[in-house]
């Protein structure tokens, strides 16, 4: 782990990332010592920093730090946390506070191989995401809702939970974005009021564009979701997981999801 470029595993206890969750993060795959889809990941990080007026470190600094750690852990999971830095007590940031960057690479999480092929069982979370359009889409450090949601179930064979919002719309997994395929159209929930707009979600939308498949960002509910031909979850760590079981929904084949999965596995896309 590198904290502001220096090897170490501690941060200042007065960092605003701890005090207020005042920062953003990204989790990404490393391959052969380098971050996968780095340009997209950095663009997301930069967007989120800008939205919160946090000074984003340069792409070069961050990618070289990931590569430095990638020498030890070439195919691990990279994580970048950028906080607004250290400040005195009080919500208003001091103008001179410098961003803190924490870069780490940890061993890859081993998931059962059948998750990616046969698909996963998904818990429907009781936690409902609140609306805050100023923070929606941003991968910020205020993630208590996700933590509470993840605490709802323990079943080892259920690797992800589905989150809806307080209006009853489907939003995402607890750590992944969601798509449904229905009547030859891909749908993914609108993330203007809550949720995190992950990098893998953009890539799926690009797949749709390149393959002449309509992809709509829309508001839809559980009743509509369980009528889907296919449902799948995506994130940068596990790639794509088809959903084989979710509330009343059951599927054993996932032809469209499998096609997209293959495309996503090619880093050039």
């Amino acid at each position: 782990m590198l904290v502001n470029g220096v090897p170490g595993n501690t941060i200042n206890a007065e960092d605003r990332g701890l005090a207020y969750g005042d920062g953003v993060f990204r989790t990404l795959r490393m391959q052969a010592g380098s971050p996968v889809c780095w340009e997209r990941q950095f663009a997301k990080l930069q967007h989120d920093c800008n939205a919160l007026k946090i000074l984003c470190p340069s792409a070069l600094v961050l990618s070289s730090e990931l590569q430095q750690l990638g020498k030890i852990q070439p195919d691990g999971i990279g994580k970048i946390i950028i906080t607004r830095g250290v400040s005195t007590r009080g919500y208003a940031p001091s103008t001179q506070s410098e961003a803190t960057r924490i870069v780490s690479v940890t061993p890859i999480t081993a998931y059962p191989a059948d998750y990616a092929k046969q698909g996963v069982r998904v818990h429907v979370c009781k936690v409902r995401l609140g609306h805050q359009f100023l923070l929606a889409g941003i991968k910020h450090l205020n993630r208590m809702e996700n933590v509470l949601a993840a605490m709802e179930w323990q079943d080892q064979d259920v690797p992800e939970g589905l989150l809806g919002d307080i209006s009853g719309f489907v939003i995402s997994g607890t750590r992944s974005n969601l798509f449904m395929f229905r009547g030859n159209i891909l749908y993914t929930p609108s993330l203007t009021r809550c949720g995190v707009a992950g990098m893998q979600r953009d890539r799926v939308m690009d797949w749709a564009k390149q393959h002449g498949v309509a992809c709509k960002v829309a508001d839809f509910r559980m009743e509509e979701l369980v009528q889907a031909d296919e449902i799948f979850l995506v994130n940068s760590v596990f790639g794509l997981w088809p959903v084989r079981e979710l509330a009343g929904y059951r599927r054993t084949t996932h032809p469209v999801a499998w096609k997209i999965q293959e495309w996503l596995n090619d880093e050039r896309h």
Copy 2:
């Protein structure tokens, strides 16, 4: 500063307090080396830990740590942060994670003396608090909304901002609770959907009970607030500030607020 009882000013960079804002905190006055209204403060902390299923350290451990630091800074501002501790990557906490406690005492913030007497000017924030009834009332570490609100104004003569919610109801200051006195009744906003239920708010409600003044927890809007006979803000650090200017509202005398202020200054209450 004491981190898990040990002098130091760093925490583990893998702490869930940083990763997800997965924790709670309290800010309190120290007087003659001891925390003011300690029983109330601890009860709040314990309540919040329980609500998030974080194991709360004992009152004895925390108060002795505050007193230890109070020897150096007898009349400072105490702060306690309790996080769910260190865990591996992922929202679901590992069952074995032990809470992290960070106890600090810093010098008191010097505010102009007239804030407490003549009252303060208050900025009306554009940020609107989102609703999340699972977190409402809790002083957790997910405070991006408060940070964004506090970034809205720079005027040194405006020490606090007013927060409303996404439904247009008045909720609180960015770091204080709000009361309005109108037609011999005290009103304070309902905090079941958002906001932080501070200790000083409870004390004001106790004052009302003891003095035969009706105190109602209610939903009200800006239009009603600016019709108030008096408005005041309370927290554990500054005590009570009458409001002398807020949008269309102007007052130069604050007889009820002054009475409550005097009562609050007596620690035995």
